[in-house]
Amino acid sequence: MESRSRNLYLIPYGLWIVVFVVAPLILVFYYSMLDINGKWTLANYTRFFTPVYLKMAIKSFWYALLITAVSLVVAYPAALAISRTRHKQLWLLLTVLPSWINLLLKAYAFIGLFSAHGPVNAMLAALGVGPRQIMFTDFSFLFVAVYIFVPFMILPIFNSIEEISPSLIAAAHDMGASEWVTLRRVIFPLTANGVKSGCRAVFIPALSLFMITRLIAGNRIITLGTAIEQHFLVTQDWGMGSTIAVFLVIAMGLIMALTDGTGSGHVGRERRV
C-alpha cells in the first residue's frame, strides 16, 4: 500500500528524468557515432584524441580548476565571516542574491563595466594607471567566472560551518587553542565536506562554460563548452559536438564519483536557503 502510493508520487519526476535527462543522454551518445553526413562512424572519437581537442580539454580543466581555486579562496573567509555576523541569514541572502539574476545579464553588465570607456577604466585613469585593456583578457574571464560561481561555493561551506556545534569551538579554546589553531585543527577538518560539495558545484559547471568565454574572453579562451557550441551552431558538425559532450559527461561522472562523501567521519547534511 505504502510503496504503491510512493510509486505514484514518483511518476511525474520519473517522466521528467526520462524525457529531459535519459533521452538526451542517449541522443547525445547516438549523435556522437554519426559523421557530418549522418553515416555511422567512430572517427569523432579518434578525432577527440588529436592535439587540438586534447589541448582544449586540458585548458578547460585548467580554467575550471583555477576558477574553483579562486572561488574557494574568496568563499571560505566570506562564509566564516557571515557565520559570525549577527544577522547571518540576511548576509547570506545578500551574497546569494546575485545568483538569481540571469547569467547573460550579469555578463553584459561586466562588458559595460570593463569596456575601454567603462567605469573601471575611468577609475584606473583617475588613479593614473589606466586606461588598460580589461575585456578579453584571462583576468576578466576569471574574475567574471568567479563572480558567478562564488555563491555556489559559499552556501555549502557556510552550511557546514553552521553545523559545527559551538561547544566544539569552546572545547578547542578550553584546551588552549588560539583562534587560528581552532580554525586549522577543528573548523577546517569539519568543513571538508562543505568544501568538497562547493568545489563540485563550481568545478563541474565551470568545465562546460561557454557563454562568458565568448562575451568576456572574446573567444580567446576556447574550452570544451565553447567547442560544443561552435560545432552545433557554426560548423553544424553535431557528431563532433556530441562526442565532446560525451567526454564531458564522463568527466563529470568521474568527478562526482571521486569526490563522493566517503570522506572522514563527519557527514555534513546540506541545507539550502
Binding site: 569552546a170 572545547a171 579554546h173
Partner: protein
C-alpha cells in the same frame, strides 16, 4: 589565602538589555574540593561555569584564579578545563587524538604526548579504545573520553557542565561514584553543575543553591538539607512539608493552632514564619500519641518506604515517608521531635540567616548545629 583557587568579586553578568543572569555574586572556592552549583534551569549556574572557564566575560566585577585577576583573560590561557554537557568530542578525531588535542596545541613532543595520553586513558579505563572513532562509543565511554581529554591538561580546576544528564539512571549512579573517586584521587578542585539535587547532595563537599541569578545558600550537603534558609531551598532540595507558623519566642513556635517546642531562635516576638519538616522525620503513630492528626489520602510503595500523603483538619497536605503500613482513609497521628522542626524566616537571604544565627548564638541561645561561615 593560598588555599583559594577561584574567587568571584561582585560579579554581574548581563546579556544586552535582558535582565541580568547573575546579580552581584561573590564567593570563593578552595583548592581540592568538590563543589556543586545546583539550581533550576536558567538560574545562572552554567553562566558561572562559563565565567570560570573564560567563555564569557563578566559585565561587572572581577574573577580571580589563584589570586590573579583573569576577568579578561581568554579561555585558551586559563588553567581550567571543562567537561561539556554534550561532551563536545571532536568527531573528526579518534579517541587518542581527542585526548591528545590539548597537548598537541601546546606543541609537546611526541613521547611526552604519548605517555600523558596513555596515562589519562588508563585513568578513565579506556585503554584499548585509542583508535576508535568517538561516534561509535557508548554514552559512558564518550563521557570518559571527555574527562580524560580535560584531565590530560592538568587543570587546577575541572568544570563539569551537567555531564551526567545524558546517561541512563544506572550508568549515572555508577559515574557519580567514579567522579567522586576521581576527584579524591586527583585532589584538584571540581566545579560540578547540575539540576539534580540528589546528585548534588551525594557528590559534593559543598553545594551552592542558585535561583534567579542569586546564590540562595551555600554549605555542606547536610547543612543545606537540614537547615534550608528559605522556602526555595527547602522546596528544591528534597521533599518537604512547609506550613505557615508564628514564632512566639525563641524555642517556641505556633502552627496549626498549637504551640510546639523547637530549637530555632533569633526572631522578633510573634514573627510570622514558615516551618519545614522533612517527610522522613515524621513518625506514624496513633491519633492520641501524634502531635498532628491527619487522614491518609493516598499511598505509594517506593521500595524502601511508603510515601504517604495525608491531610490534616485544616486542609494542609502532609507527606510522610514511613515503613509502617497504613490504609487509605485511616486516621493517624504524626509525631516529631523538637529538632525535626526547622523554622524559616519568610524571604530571608543567606547573609541575613547567618547574621541572625550569629546574634542568636552570642545571646546564648541553643546552638542549632549549623556551622557559621
Amino acid at each position: 589565602m593560598d588555599d583559594i583557587i577561584v574567587r568571584f568579586e561582585n560579579v554581574t553578568k548581563q546579556y544586552d538589555n535582558d535582565p541580568p543572569v547573575l546579580t552581584d555574586i561573590s564567593f570563593e572556592l578552595e583548592r581540592g574540593k568538590f563543589y556543586t552549583l545546583l539550581g533550576p534551569s536558567g538560574c545562572g549556574k552554567t553562566t558561572i561555569l562559563r565565567l570560570i572557564a573564560g567563555f564569557t566575560e563578566p559585565t561587572m566585577g572581577k574573577i580571580y584564579l589563584s589570586g590573579q585577576d583573569v576577568s579578561s583573560v581568554p579561555a585558551s590561557k586559563r588553567q581550567v578545563n571543562t567537561v561539556f554537557q554534550d561532551y563536545a568530542l571532536f568527531p573528526h578525531l579518534n579517541v587518542y587524538e581527542n585526548v591528545a588535542f590539548g597537548l598537541r596545541v601546546k606543541r609537546m613532543d611526541r613521547p611526552t604526548i604519548d605517555a600523558k595520553v596513555r596515562e589519562a586513558l588508563r585513568f578513565v579505563n579506556l585503554i584499548g579504545l585509542e583508535n576508535r572513532g568517538v561516534a561509535g562509543l557508548s554514552g559512558g565511554q564518550q563521557q570518559r573520553v571527555a574527562i580524560a581529554r580535560a584531565l590530560v591538561n592538568e587543570p587546577q580546576v575541572l568544570l563539569l557542565d551537567e555531564p551526567l544528564s545524558a546517561l541512563d539512571l544506572k550508568l549515572r549512579a555508577e559515574m557519580q561514584y567514579e567522579l567522586r573517586e576521581l576527584q579524591q584521587r586527583l585532589g584538584i578542585t571540581f566545579v560540578f553543575v547540575t539540576h539534580d539535587q540528589e546528585e548534588a547532595l551525594a557528590l559534593s563537599d559543598e553545594v551552592f543553591v542558585l535561583n534567579n541569578g542569586v546564590i540562595q545558600q551555600r554549605g555542606t550537603p547536610i547543612d543545606i538539607y537540614d537547615e534550608p534558609v528559605n522556602r526555595f531551598v527547602a522546596d528544591f532540595i528534597g521533599e518537604s512539608n512547609i506550613v505557615p507558623a508564628v514564632m512566639v519566642a525563641d524555642g517556641l513556635v505556633e502552627f496549626l493552632g498549637r504551640r510546639f517546642e523547637c530549637v530555632d531562635g533569633g526572631f522578633r516576638p510573634d514573627e510570622p514564619a514558615e516551618v519545614v519538616i522533612r517527610p522522613e522525620d515524621l513518625e506514624v503513630t496513633t491519633v492520641e500519641q501524634g502531635k498532628v492528626q491527619v487522614r491518609v489520602d493516598s499511598l505509594l510503595f517506593r521500595g524502601v518506604h511508603y510515601e504517604i500523603c495525608c491531610y490534616d483538619d485544616d486542609g494542609n497536605e502532609w507527606l510522610v515517608h514511613s515503613t509502617k503500613r497504613v490504609k487509605v482513609g485511616d486516621r493517624i497521628g504524626l509525631y516529631f521531635d523538637p529538632d525535626d522542626i526547622h523554622v524559616m524566616r519568610i524571604g530571608e537571604t543567606e547573609a541575613e540567616f547567618d547574621r541572625r544565627l550569629e546574634s542568636y548564638a552570642t545571646q546564648g541561645g541553643v546552638a542549632d548545629g549549623v556551622q557559621i561561615a
